[in-house]
């Protein structure tokens, strides 16, 4: 089902958390609300499921205006960060709860619980209590409970935050598989860009209560609208250096480095201070411009090494390359930059 937030605002007392947000989630799409802590992404989620009343604006499920509909009647499935399983009920009772509350016949409840348990692979755990489950199993139960009512929309609030690294990887693909199999509209709230990029069709990146950019993960990575977006996506993260436009090219501040203006940017007038963003994979052995610096740190990642190089003005750039034996700490290197892959931002962070 299509979900639409129209001019949605939410404030708690005098504190405005979200102001005039408009967001559309397409039918069957999985959208990530990505942003740092306190950016308002969970508030948005709670407004969609009806736990928070909106201060102004409208929320539409399909064509139905649910702005003033209580959460009990919105038919949304939510997976909470803590899973919020009912500790005194068995797994089967937990999953059956939304159905029993709707007074569904017991035979039908049983059938649907078994069906959904099969979907999330917890058939063997139905008789246990939440305390007897591992984190990943609790996660699956929470997912089953959210899905069993065939909700209009599935809301996931930092669902992977409480899992260890390996389980997180496994559940990432599991949640995506289940979402694709059921074809349900889903919203994932997360502060982890890897989760957002790997699981979702589109990402809405938020900062300070505003949506900065909505795009597919690929598009957002390739074409960030602001320095904030560029800085948030990518691991290891992008590095920024200050520069100035001079004679149609970019002169790095306090350093004897010149970079051409990338094709994706308009050439700024001379003397304009700019910020150059260089992703670690854009700096290395290939490219049309040269950057000179001293290797100040080498981080071994197994297949690749991450090199920090410090420029003569003190700025630090990162480069990720396959493991090289010819580079040692404190070596002075001249590495190439693919100028078309660098990003140019104005001083206020807007893309040029």
């Amino acid at each position: 089902m299509r979900i639409l937030l129209e001019h949605f605002s939410k404030s708690f007392g005098a504190v405005k958390v979200i102001e005039d947000m408009t967001l559309e989630i397409k039918d069957g799409e999985m959208l990530a609300l990505l942003g740092p802590s306190g950016c308002g992404k969970s508030t948005t989620l709670f407004a969609i499921c009806g736990i928070h009343r909106v201060t102004s604006g409208r929320i539409l499920f399909g064509d139905r205006d649910v702005t003033n509909v209580p959460s009990q009647e919105r038919n949304v499935g939510v997976v909470f960060q803590s899973y919020a399983l009912y500790p005194h009920m068995t797994v089967a009772d937990n999953i059956a709860f939304p159905l029993r509350i709707r007074k569904m016949p017991e035979a039908e409840v049983k059938r649907q619980v078994e069906e959904i348990a099969g979907l999330v692979h917890i058939e063997g755990l139905l008789g246990r209590r939440p305390a007897e489950l591992s984190g990943g199993q609790q996660q699956r139960v929470a997912l089953a409970r959210a899905l069993v009512r065939r909700p209009n929309v599935l809301l996931l609030d930092e669902p992977l935050a409480n899992l260890d690294a390996k389980l997180r990887l496994e559940m990432r693909s599991e949640i995506r598989r289940i979402q694709l199999e059921t074809g349900i509209t889903a919203i994932l709230v997360t502060h982890d860009q890897v989760e957002a990029m790997s699981m979702c069709d589109r990402i809405a990146i938020m900062n300070a209560g505003e949506i900065i950019q909505i795009a597919t993960p690929q598009e957002m990575y390739r074409n960030p609208r602001t320095a904030f977006v560029a800085g948030f996506l990518g691991n290891p993260p992008i590095a920024f250096i200050e520069a100035e436009a001079r004679d149609g090219s970019l002169a790095v501040k306090n350093a004897d480095i010149r970079l051409p203006v990338p094709k994706n940017a308009t050439v700024p007038p001379d003397g304009t201070p700019v910020i150059i963003g260089i992703r670690p994979e854009s700096l290395g052995t290939e490219g049309d411009a040269t950057i000179r610096g001293r290797v100040s740190f080498i981080e071994t990642q197994g297949r690749e090494n991450l090199y920090d190089i410090t420029l003569e003005n003190g700025s630090v750039l990162r480069s990720i390359q396959r493991v090289r034996d010819d580079i040692a700490l404190d070596d002075v290197v001249e590495w190439k930059v693919r100028s078309d892959d660098i990003f140019l931002f104005a001083e206020n962070g807007e893309r040029l």
Binding site: I51, Q72, E73, V78, Q81, Y86, P87, I101, A131, R145
Partner: protein, 463 residues
């Protein structure tokens, strides 16, 4: 540097040696075991003095017939029409009682010596000794007739005074020891059997004795059954309606309203608990008096003023339960409220989106998770209600006509404050012992049923 350290160490050595010696003397003090006992000692003394001793003494007194009349120290041997009746009724020695109760006159050396002391004429005494010594008379008249028949006939006044000295009746006599009682009895009837002596001593003794009579009386008295029923009724109603039921309503209600009004609301319900009992109950009495608020208000509608609290047994019960309940509800409210607060908020959010409205949240989320607090409050309040006395004493004092007399109040009325003025300490102690036993049995059942260890081991609510 090194040198100075050496000096310091050599100087320290003798101290170390001394310390070792003193450790030898008070070795047990340096072990944690010894110190532990030492530190515990004051507490142990207090526990024994103020907790164990009263319980033990209650147990002891329960097997005595102590009353105000017997006193708590020893007594004397008092022959009275009452004790002779006891001798007849309880021991079946009617004949003996009659004999001892009869006025009897014996002319003996003891009487003659008393006469000498009185300054009676020596000749008269001599002729008494010669003529009448050893004779026994059933009545004073017979003795006096014989005295008048003596050679030196005394005048009538002297005859009276002489006969008085030979009166050997036990009736209304008081003896300080068993021996003097038996001696006096043997003077009347030298052929007393040991059994008869025993019965006489037992029936005339005025001090307390050991007995199991208290329990026999408790078991057979119809009042026991009535008071027991009253107690059960009182405990069950107060517990179910107020201490758990109303406490739960308050806790849940305050959970769903904003923090500040909820806090004020809770404090209001705490007032009965924190206000002095006497003032609290006086307010209720004022409310219910025939010139109080209720009567004054209802008289506007033509209702006859009356003491609403003591008007009927039903009214008295209503007030007793409400007065006790309002005090007890606050504890349950606090425990339930904090237990509800401990339920993660996300569970309520989850229940909301799962379609559960408030009533369903209470039924499916809150109540199942409050199982342990509910059991705890039930156990605790049963025991405290069983022994609760102050509010009921002040409000109805068991009235009207014993309708609201509960067990603890009955003990008070029997042992410490009864209408007749003869306080039955022994009986009261027996009743108290029964209450203690009921309490212990209930506690054991509760601890076993509800698995106390699990109750205190770890929080039931998982985060």
């Amino acid at each position: 540097m090194n040198a100075s350290r050496d000096i310091a160490e050599s100087a320290r050595t003798p101290i170390g040696v001394r310390a070792a010696q003193s450790r030898l003397h008070l070795g047990w003090l340096s072990s944690s075991k010894g110190l532990g006992i030492l530190f515990l000692l004051p507490a142990v003394v207090l526990v024994v003095l103020f907790f164990l001793m009263p319980v033990a003494l209650t147990g002891v007194f329960a097997f005595t017939n102590m009353t105000t009349a017997t006193g708590i120290t020893g007594g004397a041997y008092q022959v009275s029409p009452g004790t002779l009746r006891v001798l007849t009724d309880r021991y079946g020695m009617g004949e003996l009682a009659e004999r001892l109760g009869q006025p009897t006159y014996v002319v003996d050396e003891q009487g003659l010596a008393a006469l000498e002391e009185k300054g009676i004429d020596k000749n008269i005494i001599d002729s008494l000794r010669d003529g009448l010594l050893g004779k026994t008379y059933a009545s004073r008249r017979e003795l006096e007739r014989d005295i008048r028949g003596l050679p030196d006939r005394p005048n009538t006044r002297t005859v009276k005074s002489i006969s008085e000295e030979f009166s050997r009746s036990l009736a209304n006599a008081r003896f300080s020891s068993r021996e003097s009682l038996i001696a006096a009895a043997e003077a009347i009837d030298p052929d007393l059997t040991d059994e008869e002596k025993e019965a006489l001593a037992a029936s005339t003794y005025t001090g307390w004795t050991w007995t199991t009579e208290n329990f026999r009386r408790l078991a057979s008295s119809p009042t026991t059954r009535q008071v027991l029923f009253n107690t059960l009724f009182f405990v069950a109603m107060t517990l179910v309606i107020f201490n758990t039921g109303y406490a739960m309503v308050l806790a849940i209600a305050t959970h769903y309203i904003p923090d500040r009004p909820a806090g004020i609301f809770r404090i209001i319900w705490f007032l009965p608990r924190i206000s002095p009992v006497v003032i609290y109950v006086l307010l209720w009495k004022w409310l219910a008096w025939d010139t109080g608020f209720l009567s004054a208000f209802l008289s506007n509608f033509g209702v006859r003023p009356r003491n609403w609290m003591l008007d009927t047994a039903t009214n008295a019960w209503f007030f007793v339960i409400v007065i006790n309940g309002f005090v007890g509800a606050s504890m349950g409210m606090v425990i339930f409220a904090s237990a509800i607060k401990a339920i993660p908020e996300s569970l309520f959010h989850a229940a909301s989106v799962d379609g559960a409205y408030r009533w369903q949240q209470i039924r499916h989320i809150i109540l199942p998770q409050l199982k342990w607090p509910i059991l705890f409050v039930t156990c605790y309040q049963t025991l405290s209600l069983l022994t609760s006395i102050d509010q009921t004493l002040l409000a109805t004092n068991g009235g009207p006509g014993g309708a609201t007399e509960v067990w603890s109040l009955w003990i008070y009325h029997t042992a410490l404050n009864n209408y007749a003025g003869n306080l039955q300490y022994g009986m009261g102690a027996a009743m108290a012992l029964v209450l203690v036993v009921i309490g212990i049995v209930l506690s054991l059942i509760y601890l076993r049923l509800f698995n106390y260890n699990a109750l205190v081991a770890k929080p039931r609510i998982e985060l």
